[in-house]
Symmetry: C2
Subunit: 337 residues, 2 copies
């Protein structure tokens, strides 16, 4: 009988299969969005963004963050990515019997601080406890509501050849921070998770250019999987310039050591955006002026698809060749968020 | 060091302590509501209801339902209880590695059917997988959004002496159904979970009487805990008539066998309402005309508090005495929802 594998939760191809073959069709959809944009009935023009994420990261505490701020920032970011102003979060705890109340307190403090920092309120909650050995410390679900800014229209369908691809910061920090803690490895200087709220950065970006085509935060599956999804949805080709990809030395070293590819590593505080060519340069400067976008950089552009090769992502390598980028296959880093 | 106990998830006194001492204050609140009612910014008059619940019921399938319809109905009901029209649900799955895809499919079908039945759409989702031995089959979080009906104002503060207490149906079926499955006991006729959506019943009730004082679905902690919470919040006294409490024979028999009190057993398809005395009788008739309220009955009334005894619940017993009802203490039925 078919069984669920760890890879079904990885953010890669197996998960897409599970969602598109089983979960989404059950609910009458083609796919299940990170955040849904909904028209409020009887309230003309009001568009509500609604999202959910469960957090099962292991270990619960890691360099640069913990499951608490991760759970707040991740859901805030899903709302920000659809052009919404994040407003309210709910939180559902599934706690394993025997979990230390002191650890719960640390996590709550971290959630509260992250919520303050992101400008959202935690307004509803639920707590369940499962028997010892039937959970793993604590799992946290956060769902979030935001109001979508009027006049904003984001989506892969808006992308045109010539558009530029921008990334807001360095690649790979979150995944490497969690893996180093899990494996008892430490780096000098330490690699810290990038967990951070992106709503403020997005506000600045949309104030400067309301015709941004699409934004996505490359979490599970990493930059590669996220770009491949956008390319597939648009049917166009993405060409990335490897030399411009901001992979910090610490991440590169850790990836060499652990046999990982930085492009497939989860990030929790950066975004990818496809933007009109005319304003790309200005937008990068705007982003660089924001705390979460100091290292923003243009990393590639959109081209018309070659005949029969729709939705391709090409990486132009430093040595002059090019490599086709696909979604994460199987499981690289389980329980990274 | 202080540890989390199973009782912290029971819906009773320990859970209240955890929430009021640790969780709610962390988020700047006195308590954490089942469903929050929120004013939408820039949309005058629009009140959004927002709720979340995680479901960890064991076993996953039980007489009359499964974790799937429970997860949909439970969240729909939390929205209905604050006077909202439930609209959208999100769903977050935490699946244990090795879980049968066939069981997942059964649960998805059940969720979809429950959503159709309740008139809500599942619009956003998330799937995580944890290693074998770090979960228990599947946990499901559902968060929900509804729009609160205009002109409705519910809350313990609206309750007045003389108000009547109504229950919409029989007590104890869900808890007994789950316990019987868990312990391999069967009853003839079988006791089935009452899991059902209450939004339609609530719509009919509010159409007849918009001055209903408060509604609550007595889930974890049962009818006793829910009434005690309402009484405490109102500061008034509740007097219940034991002879009127609708406890079915099957539930009574099972409770005798298992040493349980029906008043503390979880229900998933009934509601308690405190209503104005003038319309109580009419309201009961309206409820009886609805599929989920066929067995609706008045079970007691509100009285002014005696000096120094605020928020008391008194059960007038069949033999003429009276018993003080308190919240569930400790854990009666772990993982009942």
């Amino acid at each position: 009988m078919e069984k669920i594998l760890l890879g079904h939760g990885s953010g890669g191809r197996l998960m897409h299969q599970l969602i598109t073959e089983h979960i989404a069709p059950s609910f009458g959809m083609d796919s299940l969005a990170d955040a849904a944009v909904l028209d409020a009935p009887d309230v003309p023009g009001a568009r509500i963004a609604f999202t959910t994420d469960s957090y099962v990261v292991s270990p619960l505490f890691f360099p640069g963050g913990d499951i608490g701020d991760l759970a707040v920032n991740g859901t805030v970011n899903d709302l920000a990515m659809v052009g919404a102003v994040p407003l309210w979060l709910s939180t559902g705890f599934v706690i394993e019997e025997g979990f230390a109340v002191e650890s719960l307190r640390r996590i709550l403090v971290s959630m509260a601080s992250a919520a303050r920092n992101a400008g959202v309120r935690i307004v509803a909650g639920d707590t369940k406890v499962v028997d010892k050995g039937k959970g793993d410390g604590i799992f946290i679900n956060t769902a979030g509501i935001g109001m979508v800014r009027p006049g904003i229209s984001l989506g892969a369908g808006m992308i045109r050849p010539g558009d530029r691809i921008i990334i807001s910061g360095a690649i790979g920090n979150h995944g490497v921070a969690v893996m180093s803690e899990r494996n008892g490895i430490s780096f000098d200087p330490p690699v810290l998770s990038d967990t951070a709220p992106l709503a403020g950065l997005v506000a600045a970006m949309l104030a400067f250019e309301k015709n941004i085509r699409i934004m996505r935060d490359p979490t599970r599956g990493g930059v590669a999987t996220t770009l491949k999804e956008i390319a597939s949805d648009s049917g166009l080709t993405m060409v990335l310039d490897e030399e411009r990809l901001p992979v910090p030395g610490g991440v590169r070293g850790a990836c060499d050591l652990l046999g990982l590819d930085p492009l497939y590593i989860a990030n929790e505080g950066i975004l990818l955006a496809v933007v009109p060519p005319e304003t790309a340069e200005g937008l990068v400067r705007v982003m660089q002026g924001h705390e979460q976008g100091v290292c923003a950089v243009e990393i590639g552009e959109i081209r018309a698809a070659e005949r029969g090769r729709k939705g391709m992502v090409l990486l132009k390598t430093a040595v002059g060749g090019s490599r086709i980028i696909d979604m994460l296959a199987g499981e690289q880093l389980p329980r990274i968020c």
